[in-house]
């Protein structure tokens, strides 16, 4: 087990090094932020001063060297636009995004898995068909469109929920959270729902497919033959069988929900990291882009690492080196 952990940890570290390189070179190879950031009427002297100050006059490998060296010391550099340490810029907005993402994905998983199991157990029932229809709808409707409709319906037309922004926050453990206040909670409902729909559709399908397979498995057939109640079968066997793919997807989707938050945050003016990255992309604020991508990669690597470990705990075969497919 220890060898497995060490091996995976080394792999993760290597991946991070490679990722940081790819991200840095990718972002720095294309586009010239100087054209966007410096007003066109700046004199040549002003222009060169800015280029020098941003460190863009150095050769690329040197820029990467400086970046990597600072990164090792936990310094992601300064934003071209805000002249603030990037980490501070991102860190200040991270709680808002995390809160939104966690609430969405929890909601999506709980509802999605329950509906999916139901549809898997009774595949031919009318409700199951309805659930599957909804899941296909949730899968197909682009999330920005849902966001618009949600705002129009619940914020503008009925006036039940606010149209955007983050509500009141309270400090817990030194971080501002909004879901603990009534006002904050009312602000988070629509964006969280918006972000959750796609994941929910995915969870429904996953849970349904898993349940259907599990229901056909010999274990369940025998259990049924032995007269064990459906509820017990579901709890003991089906849930256990479908838990592995769901844990994987939960982990992986945590990351992709972080990414999708970009769209939701833009529509609902949610002051999170996603909105920051969209703005940074449009003005080519490289340090922020690089930091965001490297951090996202880090989150992904960590999630994969954790999922692998959890797998190894659940399924001993993996420990012995058998690849999951």
């Amino acid at each position: 087990m220890l060898a497995f952990i060490i091996q995976r940890a080394l792999q993760a570290a290597l991946v991070m090094v490679v990722m940081s390189m790819i991200v840095f070179l990718g972002v720095y190879a294309v586009g010239n932020p100087v054209d966007i950031v410096i007003p066109p009427d700046a004199t040549i002297a002003m222009r060169e001063e800015v280029i020098r100050r941003l460190g863009l006059d150095l050769p690329l490998w040197k820029q990467y060297g400086i970046f990597a060296w600072n990164l090792l010391q936990g310094d992601f550099g300064r934003s071209f636009i805000y002249n603030m340490p990037v980490l501070e810029l991102i860190g200040g907005r991270l709680p808002a995004t995390l809160e939104l993402v966690l609430i969405s994905i929890l909601f999506a998983t709980v509802t999605g898995v329950s509906l999916g199991i139901y549809a898997g157990v009774n595949p031919e029932s009318r409700i199951a068909k309805l659930i599957m229809g909804l899941s296909i709808l949730g899968f197909s409707v682009p999330s920005f469109w849902v966001g618009l409709i949600l705002i129009l319906t619940f914020a503008v037309h009925f006036g039940i929920f606010p149209a955007g922004g983050r509500g009141e926050t309270v400090m817990v453990f030194g971080v501002e959270w909004s879901f603990l206040t009534a006002n904050g909670l009312s602000h988070i409902v629509l964006p969280a729902l918006n972000l959750a729909l796609f994941k929910m559709a995915m969870m429904i399908r996953l849970a349904r497919a898993g349940t259907r397979e599990a229901m056909l498995s010999d274990t369940v057939k025998f259990a049924r033959a032995a007269g064990i109640s459906e509820a017990t079968i579901l709890r003991r066997h089906v849930l256990k069988l479908i838990s592995i793919p769901i844990i994987t997807v939960f982990g992986l989707e945590l990351g992709s929900t972080l990414a999708f938050a970009v769209v939701t945050e833009t529509i609902f003016s949610w002051p999170g990291v996603g909105k920051l990255i969209i703005d940074s992309i449009t003005v080519l604020d490289r340090p922020v882009m690089v930091a965001y991508l490297v951090l996202t990669a880090f989150v992904f690597v960590m999630i994969n690492f954790t999922v692998d470990l959890v797998f190894a705990l659940i399924d001993p075969r993996i420990r012995s080196g058998r690849q999951k497919s």
Partner: protein, 312 residues
């Protein structure tokens, strides 16, 4: 041996043999099973219809929305049913430039389908090549290629497409590049999975031991076995790239506004949502949803049919 039946087959007839003795082509069998799901059949019909409409948009659409000479600003933003200066009824109304919205939607559909098909095809080609090569060659090539693919798969496609299209700028080619980069890995993983499963089978090992050319092994055995799962992935990916393109356009990173895809039409129409001119974004939105849903339902059915574990 009874003389009455001299031509009796020495082995059991394969499944699907008809009375005449000719085997039914598997595609026909597939179709028969497909047809049993009425919703999927309707979805397939819609998909084909939309594809045709998109293909023949110039002949189907009442107006060429890009011919500036046929447009009149006087017709701008008229509600559905308005009779324009061109003399015909704008069934779905007009957009901010006085374009017939139905025509704009049909042309937008064309662009959306064009882009997602192009991206899907290129991603399929690149992905399948990587996957099959990795499976065939094995060794460190396999490790490096698949490690790379896995790495990318763990990264959200939308983020990759977002950053790439921001860096590459607006335009069809740039957008397709971004979509391909975001999607090839799914094809690579799928092809690799199918090809390794096949590669491990004894007959391939045997074939490799004989002087059969690598090309023959790859094209006759590995690729055909990858085809079914690749088709499933392709339908999913085409649907998702239509949606992705729309999202990018909505965020202002996709196509230029002057050549609107469905996503761009919705984004353009979004600014009129608050002022009650719903048709500008609702109809393109409905078309987009219809298209994606139809493709997804078809893809679902194909997957269910190809998944042997669900067969009783």
């Amino acid at each position: 041996m009874t003389p009455s039946n001299p031509k009796a087959p020495t082995e059991n007839p394969p499944v699907g043999m008809t009375e005449t003795g000719k085997p039914t082509p598997p595609i026909l069998l597939f179709w028969r099973e497909f047809r049993r799901n009425r919703i999927a059949t309707v979805a397939l019909g819609i998909t084909i219809l939309l594809a045709f409409v998109a293909l023949f948009a110039p002949f189907v659409a009442p107006q060429d929305p890009y011919n500036l000479q046929t447009l009149s600003l006087m017709d701008a933003r008229r509600p559905p049913g308005h009779v324009g200066s061109g003399g015909y009824v704008h069934i779905l109304g007009t957009d901010a430039q006085g374009r017939d919205l139905l025509s704009a939607i049909l042309y937008g559909l064309r662009i959306s389908i064009q882009i997602s098909l192009a991206a899907g095809f290129i991603a399929l080609t690149i992905g399948a090549t990587i996957g099959v090569l990795a499976a065939y060659i094995g060794g460190w090539v396999e490790t490096v290629l698949m490690r790379m693919v896995d790495l990318q798969l763990s990264f959200p496609a939308i983020l990759l497409a977002l950053v790439l299209s921001a860096l590459l700028g607006q335009g069809k080619a740039q957008l397709i590049t971004a979509l391909v980069a975001a999607q090839y890995a799914y094809f690579a993983r799928t092809a690799y999975g199918a090809a390794t499963a096949e590669r491990r089978k004894d007959y391939i090992e045997a074939a490799l031991a004989t002087p059969l050319s690598a090309r023959r092994v790859i094209f006759r055995h590995l690729l055909p076995n990858c085809a079914p799962p690749l088709i499933v992935v392709a339908t999913v990916q085409i649907a998702s790239s239509i949606s992705l393109e729309a999202t990018l356009s909505f965020l202002g990173l996709g196509l230029p506004v002057t050549e609107p895809s469905l996503g761009m039409l919705i984004a353009n129409g979004f600014q009129y949502m608050m002022s009650g001119r719903y048709w500008l974004s609702v109809y393109p939105g409905l078309m987009l949803i219809l298209l994606i849903m139809a493709i997804n339902i078809v893809g679902d059915q194909i997957r269910d049919q190809l998944n042997p574990r669900l067969r009783r």
